[in-house]
């Protein structure tokens, strides 16, 4: 399938979903990322970077704006740039921390403290669970892996996160349709927020895509404390052609919303990452758009079925 055809599918699916009120309009990833482009040739002077300070008899008042607003975050800090408007455009082209200037060979104070602020919130985001309301919305029942000691054990024992516990196996056997074409499962992985940010957009596109390709869509469910390797257990229990695991990637600096779709053809015990494929960096505004990603994974699933292979084998087959 070529790009044009893919784009057409995405559009069609999105149109349908929009009509049904399921999604909000989206920007395709070919649009420029959202960083604001400042129009002036003297960028530093246009933004109110000086906090409101006023001396009064009692002493000093410091009342700062939030440094993470786009206006402040993407404000070039280079002193006397050779091409100021050009620099603005460069900064706007990426989410990376460029145009940050320097103090000697070290960072400017503003960029140093922004970095530390972003690191702080990322730490706080690590230990949350996925919102139950979201899971209810898509009728996802929850099963767990062999992790019993909470997030801390999950972090230290990836081996346990790759295995479903016995209760999970029983529930899946009871509730799930077997031998389906496509089995979607959702896992928290290393970021619950990633699932919360993207599932509403991506899940319906996959379901719609699978159904309009006349393939069977297995009973979806949610796995708590999941690692990618848990796909093998899912494959063994349900025997689907393709497993699609939507899972939270580890959080980046100040960004915990990035999700991946890991996929495998007939996953079974002993399969490794070489037998899998992944669509990663799924998030709105700057990453792979979740709607497009949804259409893309359906396309990959079809390829896997066609070549009866995934991972490196699929690569060789193409």
């Amino acid at each position: 399938m070529d790009d044009a055809k893919l784009a057409a599918i995405v559009e069609a699916v999105v149109r349908e979903l929009k009509a049904a009120g399921a999604v909000k309009p989206f920007a395709s990833s070919s649009d420029t990322p959202p960083a604001p482009v400042l129009q002036t040739s003297s960028p530093a002077s246009t933004v109110p970077i000086k906090p409101h300070t006023a001396a009064f008899s009692g002493g000093l008042t410091i009342d700062l704006p939030d440094p993470v607003t786009p206006e402040l975050r993407y404000r070039p800090l280079v002193k006397n740039p050779k091409d100021a408007s050009g620099l603005n455009a460069l900064v706007a082209s990426t989410t990376a921390r460029i145009g940050v200037g320097r103090a000697g060979p070290r960072y400017s104070t503003a960029s140093l403290l922004l970095f530390q602020g972003d690191h702080a919130v990322t730490q706080d985001a690590l230990y949350r669970d996925v919102d139950q309301k979201l899971l209810n919305e898509f009728n996802l029942f929850t099963v767990e892996t062999k992790v019993t000691g909470g997030k801390q054990e999950y972090l230290l024992r990836p081996d346990l996160g790759r295995l479903l516990n016995d209760e999970a196996k029983r529930i899946i056997n009871e509730k799930c349709q077997k031998n389906v074409n496509i089995q979607v499962v959702v896992g928290d992985g290393l970021s619950s927020q990633a699932v919360e940010s993207n599932l509403r957009q991506m899940f319906p596109v996959i379901k719609q895509g699978v159904q309009s390709a006349n393939l069977t869509f297995g009973t979806p469910f949610f796995i708590k404390h999941a690692r990618v390797g848990v796909m093998n257990d899912v494959g063994e229990l349900i025997k689907p052609d393709v497993v699609i695991l939507l899972i939270g990637e580890r959080p980046g600096l100040g960004r915990a919303e990035s999700m991946s779709a890991y996929m495998g053809y007939k996953p079974k015990y002993g399969d490794t990452d070489a037998d899998r494929d992944v669509v990663c960096n799924i998030f709105e505004n700057g990453g792979t758009n979740p709607l497009e990603a949804g259409a893309f994974v359906v396309q990959i699933a079809q390829k896997m079925r066609q070549h009866q292979a995934s991972g490196v084998k699929l690569k060789m087959a193409k």
């Binding site: 990833s29 990322p33 280079v78 006397n80 740039p81 050779k82 091409d83 100021a84 050009g86 620099l87 460069l90 900064v91 082209s93 990426t94 989410t95 990376a96 921390r97 460029i98 145009g99 940050v100 200037g101 320097r102 000697g104 060979p105 070290r106 960072y107 960029s111 970095f115 530390q116 972003d118 690191h119 990322t122 730490q123 690590l126 972090l155 230290l156 024992r157 990836p158 081996d159 290393l190 990637e249 580890r250 959080p251 980046g252 600096l253 960004r255 990035s258 490794t272 990452d273 070489a274 990663c280 960096n281 998030f283 700057g286 990453g287 792979t288 991972g311 490196v312 690569k315 060789m316």
Partner: protein, 455 residues
């Protein structure tokens, strides 16, 4: 085999070399995960007391995975120069440590010894080294390599420009390259980790980076760190490739999970020598990291340090231009906190140098590990003291695509000034010619990405 010692009145006994090697390590969460960590601090030291008395030949004869079961073991064992090995084999691990550190042992002597060593011997001596031992010993072993420029020469410190972008946008990546060059980063390689591993996308990034290199006449090389099979397609179809990259593991099973084998890398190496555009003769780039074999359940019950040493023996087969551990990249299940990451970084750098490969380090951490940017700045300083060939250069150390933090464009510039080091000689000349660097320091024009908007 009896492996036993007393320590402060208590007896400690170890059933075999595998367990002894595991227990002798500094504490690492990954060794706990693998079930080979010492139970107490005293047991750890007891293991070292015993290990210090083990002759090197025992370690050669106890590879982590038997010769007939593992092609990485075969690569390493078959490469040993038996004459040199015979000179070393009766030294104990403790004696070997002192030999490396001795004033009478010259860099040339150590480099020669490299060819008589196996990974298990190198891992063994590393376990007996303190952090400063690791810095001091590594500094004694410069390893120099050549592509379009020279990396690893004493007095220099290089930097891989790593302009990653969450959607591989060529404009965004180009902007990050400009920023990096403006800080003097990029002499090791301009190396992008792609989001999209497809041939078309990888070829486009190779073309774009090559265009920057040509436009500005930069004495460096490019690389897109896709799976090696994708890069091979690019080489065959005439894309401008500077270095060929692959992540490697220390066992055949680990490499299986990466979708590679010795045969495949042999093919890639042959293609690289034939088609890469730089002068060479070193065209390969490998990344490693403690825990990667264990994460694929491919460690055969051995500790992660020993598996890591095996990476370097494997890499050496391809006369690489650069190899770096991405220490701290995978997460807290292997290296729990700043202290463990720092220790592993020093170990890996030393082991690479002792193996005889041009070693750099991606000094880094993830947001789920207990570490922060200060910890990584400390590690970079320690490694620079130990003569590390290169670090990563990321915009403020933040990789918004791979979701981890490493060293920055600023850091290499700062380390050079702190330690009175220079970029790779050819690259420094180029930086001077465009006016970004003078006498080893950044000029007024430096640090401004817009400098590169117009040639």
């Amino acid at each position: 085999m009896l492996l036993r010692t007393k320590l402060h009145g208590k007896t400690y006994e170890f059933p075999d070399i595998r367990i002894l090697m595991g227990k002798a390590n500094e504490e690492k969460s990954g060794d706990h995960l693998a079930g080979v960590a010492a139970d107490t601090v005293a047991e750890r030291v007891a293991a070292r007391l015993v290990l210090a008395e083990v002759p090197l030949k025992v370690l050669r004869e106890t590879p982590a995975i038997p010769y007939d079961q593992d092609e990485i073991t075969r690569v390493i064992q078959d490469a040993v120069d038996d004459n040199i090995y015979n000179e070393l084999k009766d030294k104990t691990v403790g004696e070997f440590r002192e030999w490396i550190l001795a004033d009478t042992t010259t860099p040339d002597m150590i480099r020669r010894a490299s060819n008589g060593l196996t990974a298990e011997m190198i891992a063994g001596v590393t376990k007996l080294m303190s952090n400063m031992d690791l810095m001091y010993a590594a500094k004694k072993i410069p390893v120099i390599a050549y592509c379009n420029n020279t990396i690893g020469a004493p007095g220099t410190l290089s930097s891989r420009l790593q302009p990653n972008h969450p959607t591989d946008s060529p404009e965004g990546i180009r902007a990050e390259i400009y920023e990096g060059l403006a800080f003097g980063s990029g002499d090791s390689v301009i190396g992008i980790n792609p989001v999209d591993d497809s041939y078309g996308s990888v070829a486009r990034l190779l073309d774009m980076t090559y265009d920057v290199i040509k436009t500005w006449n930069i004495p460096t090389q490019n690389c897109v760190l896709a799976h090696v099979t994708t890069q091979m397609k690019c080489l065959e179809s005439g894309s401008p490739v500077g270095l060929v990259f692959q992540s490697i593991a220390g066992s055949q099973k680990g490499n299986d999970s990466f979708g590679i084998s010795v045969g495949l890398l042999d093919e890639a190496y042959a293609l690289a020598r034939k088609h890469c555009f730089p002068k060479g003769p070193n065209f390969m780039y490998f990344e490693t990291g403690q825990g990667s074999a264990l994460s694929a359940d491919a460690h055969n019950g051995w500790d992660q340090l020993t598996l890591e040493a095996r990476n370097y023996g494997f890499a050496k087969r391809y006369s690489p231009f650069q190899v770096n551990t991405v220490v701290g990249f995978i997460g807290p299940e292997y290296l729990y906190d700043a202290r463990q990451i720092q220790r592993a970084g020093l170990e890996d750098h030393f082991m690479g140098k002792l193996t005889g490969i041009p070693m750099g380090v991606d000094a880094c951490y993830t947001n789920h590990a207990r570490a922060d940017q200060n910890a990584i700045e400390n590690l970079a300083v320690m490694l620079t003291a130990g003569g590390c060939n290169y670090f990563m250069g990321l915009p403020m150390g933040d990789d918004s695509m791979l979701s981890y933090q490493s060293t920055s464009y600023h850091d290499t510039a700062s380390l050079r000034q702190l330690f009175n080091l220079r970029p790779a000689a050819e690259f420094e000349k180029w930086l001077e010619s465009i006016g970004i660097m003078k006498n080893g320091a950044l000029t007024e024009k430096a640090g401004d990405a817009s400098f590169f908007l117009k040639r």
